[in-house]
């Protein structure tokens, strides 16, 4: 049984004009120690999906339906009190902008010790020892000094290292990282991503990485999900999807990567832009931007079709697979 199983999760925002559907029924699972990538343009609902795991969606968002099974218990239905026991202890999070994540008026030490004391009966002194040890693991320069410093006294990279250290404090089962390196400058991004990867492997911690950077996903994750307008349109082993993307949107994303285009030529662009939550087209949400779109695509929401180890939600792909099956049956 997978460590974390999300079954047709539905998240809505109760805005005055009526409910906006941010997540429209997505399902996926995460095994122990597995590294899952969540990819898609900004506004696809990646972050909302990530935050909904621990039910941290800010008002007026709420989980409208579906289940989030973690070690057999449905987090979506859990009371705030019970959920609190899991947050930070069993499932930890890393936010995007390290400048804003740490409380500016509390020392790094306080913010680490309190995480420990919230879940363990431990004296402050011991908590500080563990914190110090974690800081060493994230290779932060002169860790002893850091505990008593304030966040504004550290650089962006150092702060993200502290946040990673906090995430690992209680040996969580899963770390959900929402674009952990986007806010950092390029040189530090690779370093921090490598550090995160190495620590996850070392502690056999499952990693759910949310990013819009296909490059990062292809190197780091074992499986990946591609999200578009609140739905998962393609999910499966990263290698398979990267090498042989089925869904036209995923192909578009891959072709848009600089490495893929010949040097000196214009980069490939997917026409149009992501629809906003209150104007999502009927049928397959990608149809206005898809060159293969036909009337069928415009009316009916495509179901998932298994192609190899990849599930794809696209009528064209479903039709191709159907045709191939028929060919195989016809040939003896």
């Amino acid at each position: 049984m997978a460590l974390l199983e999300v079954k047709n999760l539905d998240v809505r925002f109760a805005v005055r004009g009526g409910d906006l559907k941010a997540i429209r029924g997505i399902s996926f699972s995460l095994d122990k120690g597995e590294r899952l990538g969540l990819v898609g343009e900004s506004g696809a609902g990646k972050s909302v999906a990530a935050f909904s795991i621990l039910n941290l969606i800010a008002r007026p968002g709420y989980i409208a339906g579906g289940e989030i099974l973690f070690e057999g218990r449905n987090l979506a239905a859990m009371s705030e009190r019970e959920l609190r026991k899991i947050r930070g202890d069993r499932i930890a999070m890393i936010f995007q902008d390290p400048m804003m994540t740490l409380n500016p008026v509390l020392t790094v030490g306080t913010q680490m010790v309190e995480a420990l004391k919230a879940h363990r009966r431990i004296s402050t002194a011991n908590a500080r020892k563990i914190a110090l040890e974690r800081l060493k693991q994230v290779q932060i320069p002169s860790p002893e000094k850091r505990l008593d410093q304030y966040p504004h006294e550290l650089s962006g990279g150092m702060r993200q290292r502290v946040i990673i250290a906090i995430a690992l404090l209680l040996d969580p089962e899963i770390i959900i990282a929402d674009e952990p390196t986007t806010a950092l400058d390029v040189t530090i991004q690779a370093e921090i991503m490598a550090l995160l990867l190495e620590l996850c492997e070392q502690h056999n911690v499952a990693l759910m990485l949310i990013t819009h950077d296909l490059g990062v996903v292809s190197q780091v994750s074992q499986r990946m999900l591609v999200m578009y307008a609140g739905r998962v349109i393609e999910q499966g082993p990263t290698k398979e999807i990267i090498n042989d993307a089925q869904h036209p949107y995923t192909q578009g994303l891959i072709n848009a990567l600089p490495q893929m285009g010949e040097p000196g030529r214009r980069l490939f662009q997917i026409p149009g832009s992501m629809p906003s939550l209150n104007r999502i087209p009927t049928g397959c949400p990608f149809n206005p931007r898809c060159q293969f779109a036909n009337d069928h695509c415009r009316e009916v929401m495509p179901e998932y079709v298994r192609s190899g180890n990849v599930d794809v939600a696209c009528h064209e792909v479903a039709a191709l697979i159907e045709k191939e099956k028929q060919l195989q049956e016809e040939q003896p």
Binding site: V15, R16, A58, R59, M99, H152
Partner: protein, 310 residues
């Protein structure tokens, strides 16, 4: 309509301000009530059954009459009369006009001075900050009472005091405005100190913006929240402190009472039976301040970039 105004009107209709105003019932109700009170003040001469400032109409014999619906009330005076026999309704209408002018005028002046000095002190720091903050200390120790005496004395020396009646309102706006700016200044300064450290200020500097553009266009919007809260509170204070000043002979002349002086003069009667002299104008003030506060809260939420929208 020329395209310019069309676009501005349509831009307003499309703007978030109008969008959130339409949906916020409280904002609508308070705006309507606010406009009603201002209108009542402005059109007082038309609405008021009698002219309270015309002494010939006042007859001492019908002083302290209760409101019409109570026994002993006189239909000619719907809300009863004050200690002088002035019709309370008309006096409230005229008084509201004066108090509104003074309330808003003074707070506007306070905010302008407060924001200007607060930004300068906070942003520039060093000697400017020390100088401005000590001027604030001197100003704080000279409360409205003392500033009134100083301005009154200076005015008397230059103009002689009989011309005072006509320009009392502008004098009061000046006095209350000048007396209370340090409160807003210190708050703005505190917010500026906190904001100054943030990246967007450095970014603006890097883009070569001049200092006052950074201060007013970038830092100021981030300090709106406390300013609105203090601003709305100061309006109520201004209206009440005007009454205290007329006691000193520096406020509105006795024969032209404002809302504040009506309330204050009613204090003596509150326990001896004529409670309406204080309570009815007091009620008008409470409604006025309530409405201003609600509008202030709504405006602050709408205009504040950091608060969650919609």
């Amino acid at each position: 309509m020329s395209t310019a105004t069309l676009s501005r009107w349509s831009r307003f209709r499309e703007s978030f301000l109008w969008y959130s105003f339409k949906r916020d019932k409280i904002a609508i109700v308070s705006f309507v009530v606010f406009v009603l009170i201002v209108a009542a003040g402005v059109f007082a001469p038309l609405l008021a059954p009698a002219d309270p400032y015309d002494l010939t109409q006042i007859n001492i014999m019908n002083s302290e009459l209760p409101p019409m619906w109570l026994d002993g009330g006189d239909p000619q005076f719907p809300l009863g009369t004050d200690a002088q026999g002035r019709d309370l309704l008309s006096t409230i209408l005229y008084g509201t006009r004066v108090s509104l002018l003074i309330g808003f005028g003074a707070v506007l002046l306070q905010s302008l001075l407060g924001i200007l000095f607060g930004l300068l002190a906070g942003y520039l720091g060093g000697r400017v900050d020390a100088l401005l903050m000590r001027v604030a200390d001197v100003q704080l120790s000279f409360s409205t009472l003392m500033v009134a005496i100083i301005v009154g004395a200076v005015f008397k020396a230059s103009f002689g005091n009989l011309m005072f009646g006509e320009i009392a309102i502008y004098m009061l706006i000046l006095i209350i405005g000048v007396a209370e700016w340090p409160q807003i200044a210190r708050t703005v300064r505190a917010s500026v100190l906190a904001e100054k450290k943030k990246e967007y200020v450095d970014a603006a500097k890097v883009m070569g913006f001049r200092t006052n553009r950074i201060m007013f266009r970038h830092i100021l919007p981030n300090t709106l929240s406390p300013i609105f809260v203090i601003g709305t509170v100061q309006i109520a204070n201004a209206i009440i402190s005007e009454a205290a000043l007329s006691f000193l002979g520096l406020g509105m002349p006795e024969t032209q009472p404002s809302l504040g002086s009506l309330i204050k003069s009613g204090f003596d009667y509150i326990q001896s039976g004529s409670w309406w002299i204080t309570l009815i104008p007091g009620l008008v003030l409470v409604v006025l301040v309530l409405v201003i506060n609600l509008l202030g809260d709504w405006l602050r939420d709408v205009m504040n970039p950091r608060l969650y929208k919609g």
